[in-house]
Symmetry: C2
Subunit: 202 residues, 2 copies
Amino acid sequence: MAVTKQAGGRPAGERVHRAAVKLFATKGFHGTGIRDLAKAANLSSASLYHYMPTKERLLADIMRTSLQSLLDAATGELDGVDDPVERLDRLVVLHVTRHAREPMRTRVVDNEVDALTPASRRDVVGIRDAYEKLWSDAIDDGLRSGVFTTTRPATTRLALLDMCNGVARWFSPGGELGRSGLADHYADLARRMVGAPPRQPR
Amino acid sequence: MAVTKQAGGRPAGERVHRAAVKLFATKGFHGTGIRDLAKAANLSSASLYHYMPTKERLLADIMRTSLQSLLDAATGELDGVDDPVERLDRLVVLHVTRHAREPMRTRVVDNEVDALTPASRRDVVGIRDAYEKLWSDAIDDGLRSGVFTTTRPATTRLALLDMCNGVARWFSPGGELGRSGLADHYADLARRMVGAPPRQPR
DNA sequence: CCGAGACGATCAATCGATCGATAGACCCGA
DNA sequence: TCGGGTCTATCGATCGATTGATCGTCTCGG
């Protein structure tokens, strides 16, 4: 059942998915009509429904798979790493790198949560909570072992995540700092915030 | 011409404004219909148009006045303060306090920028740029006088602002940290990020 | 000749916005 | 103190346009 192609070169299902990410990110879920979606995917609005059950389910799928992939990557990245400082470093670098590489997708995940139906929202928020627990644990471990010095770890975690999420709002590949340079800088900022020693002590 | 009141106790124009802030913040601009707006303001959808020229202009007015008030407050707060550390402290405390006191209004300002028409957007972004310049200047001054140690001041400013903006997404008055406690904690975080000495050196 | 992929036409519902009308408060001249 | 005129606030009804979604039909490779 070799997937049929067309003008765009990509299979239609993928075109729909990509168009949805771009449009939901720039105009918002409610600001995007299925006709916009169809035009961006080079399809009629009727054909769209061969690739999605519903506009809302398309959004939910995008958010669910994006978040799940982030959670999986983070779990893998942390596997076998014991040093809390290294754990936090890796979380920040992964998070920032992803947000800089796919700002559109990330913006959808971060901003469109309450366009979801209650059922979809439960799923999505569940994955997000699991991901954020990795951050909480890293901070708690660092505090327990004495490498971090911060009062209010819960609030600091929120500040940390908000700071890293912001990258998706403004990052542009043409900037003075590339993706990896940016990630390193953010890792430094994170260390400072939790009171961990800087990367190369000298 | 004493402003007429009604069930809500408040004048109708203010009810419209408040309802718009709450609905735009929770359901988004495009997710809010004028009938939702009318219901929340205890008016018919027709009467709504005595208090706003257009749904989009209502949004623009909310954003413009909110941002202008923030800019004015910040300018006043900084007046006569020379020490860069103190300047940054005041910016953070003001910003965080406002975001915690009026999270709804802030969420509208932060998230609905691209629901505006190009003309409105120019106005709003202009005010926002002026506000953010206060932050840039504070950081640059601190660097020039040697109290701050951070490479990439531009990126650090963005990280700082994103961190502080996040407060509006999750703050709840019932939390363990009150508004002022939260603001103080964020001021500490900001000092750490720019490499300034902590608040009470001992 | 069948099924997947595509479409134009169209559905009911809702959208933002406007209409003409009404009820009541206020002012001013007689 | 009355009466008429004006103005503000409000509404039900309705406008044309657009929304998300569905229908039946066509096409074409296997």
